[in-house]
Amino acid sequence: MANRLHRLGRSEAANGLVLVSPPAIFAVLLLAAPLGLLFLYSFLTDGYLTILWEFTFQNYRDAWSDPLVRTVMLRSLGVSMMVTAITVLLAFPVAYFVSFHVRPDRKSLWLFLITIPFWTSYLIRVFLWKVILGYNGVLNSGLLGLGLIDEPLTFILYNVNAVVITLAHAYAPFAILPIFVALEKIDRSLLEAGRDLGESDLMTFWRVTLPLSMSGVVAAVLIVFIPTIGDYVTPQLVGGPEGRMVANIIHLQYLRLDNYPAGSAIAVSAMVMVTAISLLFLFLNRRFLRGRK
């Protein structure tokens, strides 16, 4: 036993553990601890400016019975589903084009170009969308100037549409990259085999390329869906009152009303919802892949 411990102590695994432990501790402190705290708060009682150490489910009951919270929660869900669908549907052809139709020595250049908009900060990009979509914005002046519209379009800013457009743009590369990677990994001779076995290009895409790129699509969906549901900046800046999302009311609870337990309960509810939907998605995806083979 001692001998084995001794060996373990000198093994590569032990060396590895020693090496990763500082960042691991760091990660625990930065991620797990706040999460734990959040979870804890959500079961405590709000005492206005303090928190009472009284265990309760009341925060959840309040959150789920409040129509505003429910509306905003559903809206967040709807917005992020829409953003996910739009982003992934638009990202797939881009990734496909770069993977299959760009010369190999130009691919990295293309990926580089795709990331260029992300050299400016997220905040600035959101503001830029505001400039583009606003009442006197680039889009409206342009369309007015061209005589295509008589008065500025108002359905594109300070509502859900603006949030969807801005978020879809913000997350585009995060969707393109995993799909691109999955497409790159597909052995090109598989596509030739598909054609050789009598299938057209389209059917080969459907039966070979698409199922084999599913891992990338799934990654893209999760990467876009999970963070957008909790996005704060975009709805705050371009969403207007009808575009408010769950992060905005959490913010309201925490910083304006100073009600940490209520905010935490909403935050935990949102997390549970995201987790449940992601798992459901993964499950359905697996079923779909198995079903269509």
Binding site: D187, L190, E192, D196, L197, E199, K293
Partner: protein, 361 residues
């Protein structure tokens, strides 16, 4: 000659400036086991892919079963391919791979499933149907690829170095199995290989390719015994070359003077190639025999000295320097019981026959 199934007429292929196929003209018969043999980069795969429809020839005519294939895409050609990487669909099971091409087959699902089972059995994968394809060994993938192609009953099966990824033992076993399968299904097989032994073992006819051209197309034995050029002779097995001089030439044959061997009369058949001006005589290692004490040559003999001995168990290879020749010639002797292996430096006599010589002019 059997009915032609593939006809190639002056097929050319350019990749940009690179001239990959330089006028391929040949006919491949129905039910033939045909091999494309040549060194890396000679255009074997290009030719195979042209037949399959993955490459368009820059010019020339390709007919399959009498029909011009110009503009006919790969998915409707009556050919199927076994890819070098096997190209087994990793997201499907073995069964689903084998049945992949049956989607538009009008037969009922049960009939198709039966066909899949039959073909799995044919390639020796009975009971493997439900396995995930990505969990198979190289040899098993190979079999799946074969079954997947054969189930579609193609007129021509194209195989691009199907055995190169297997170890030696597996390769030899698969060679035999491929021959058996080909006889069983009676389909034309076109095999690409750079392994001359594999081509000799398996083929009815072999096209030896160099730099986008067919250098020689013959049955294995003719190819081995009567190579048309030194390049072909070198590529197929081992061949010794000795400098020679043509003393006289008649319609029936040649009188030659060969360094180390002396004068010999050769028939016209023994000079299969076109004259190039570089005269030499070639012969295979097994056409020479070492003469032991008291043995007499049946035909001719020449003296020499053993320079190198390579012992192989069943065979011994000797490099013998014939008197009057600078470079040694290689000969092989079967190690029959009671025949001693000679030491280096032994003086010896070598028996040979003029009929086994090939003249390159």
């Amino acid at each position: 000659m059997k009915r032609p199934i593939i006809e190639l007429e002056n097929v050319q292929k350019y990749y940009g400036d690179y001239h990959a196929l330089r006028g391929i003209t040949t006919t491949i018969g129905e039910g033939e086991f045909f091999s494309l043999l040549g060194p890396s980069g000679c255009g074997k795969t290009t030719l195979l892919r042209t037949i399959a429809g993955f490459e368009d020839p820059s010019s020339g005519v390709l007919k399959i079963d009498g029909k011009d294939m110009d503009g006919v895409p790969a998915n409707v050609r009556p050919t199927n391919m076994v890819f070098q990487s096997y190209a087994i669909f990793p997201h499907l099971t073995v069964e689903e791979n084998v049945g992949f091409g049956l989607r538009r087959d009008p037969r009922s699902a049960a009939d198709k499933a039966r066909a899949v089972q039959e073909h799995l059995e044919m390639v020796g994968l009975k009971g493997y149907g439900k396995r995930a394809a990505h969990a198979l060994s190289g040899g098993q993938r190979q079999r799946v690829a074969l079954a997947r192609a054969l189930i579609l009953k193609p007129k021509v099966l194209l195989l691009d170095e199907p055995l190169s990824a297997l170890d030696k033992k597996m390769r030899e076993q698969m060679q035999v199995e491929l021959i058996r399968l080909q006889r069983q299904v009676g389909i034309t097989f076109i095999l690409v290989t750079h392994d001359q032994e594999e081509a000799l073992v398996m083929s009815d006819r072999i096209a030896v390719m160099f730099e986008g051209q067919i250098a020689q197309l013959d049955d294995p034995e003719t190819l081995y015994r009567l190579p048309k050029s030194r390049q072909v002779a070198d590529f197929i097995g081992t061949m010794n070359f000795l400098p020679a001089q043509v003393l006289s030439e008649t319609p029936d044959g040649f009188e030659v003077e060969v360094a180390g061997l002396g004068r010999a009369a050769l028939t016209a058949r023994q000079a299969p190639g076109r004259p190039t001006g570089d005269v030499a005589v070639g012969f295979r290692p097994e056409t020479l025999t070492i003469l032991y004490e008291g043995q007499q040559a049946a035909d001719r003999e020449s003296p020499g000295i053993v320079e190198e001995v390579v012992y192989y168990g069943d065979m011994t290879y000797y490099d013998v320097k014939l008197d009057g020749v600078a470079a040694p010639v290689r000969l092989s002797m079967r190690n029959v019981f009671g025949r001693p292996v000679l030491d280096r430096g032994t003086r010896t006599r070598v028996a040979w026959a003029p009929g086994a010589l090939v003249l390159f002019r």
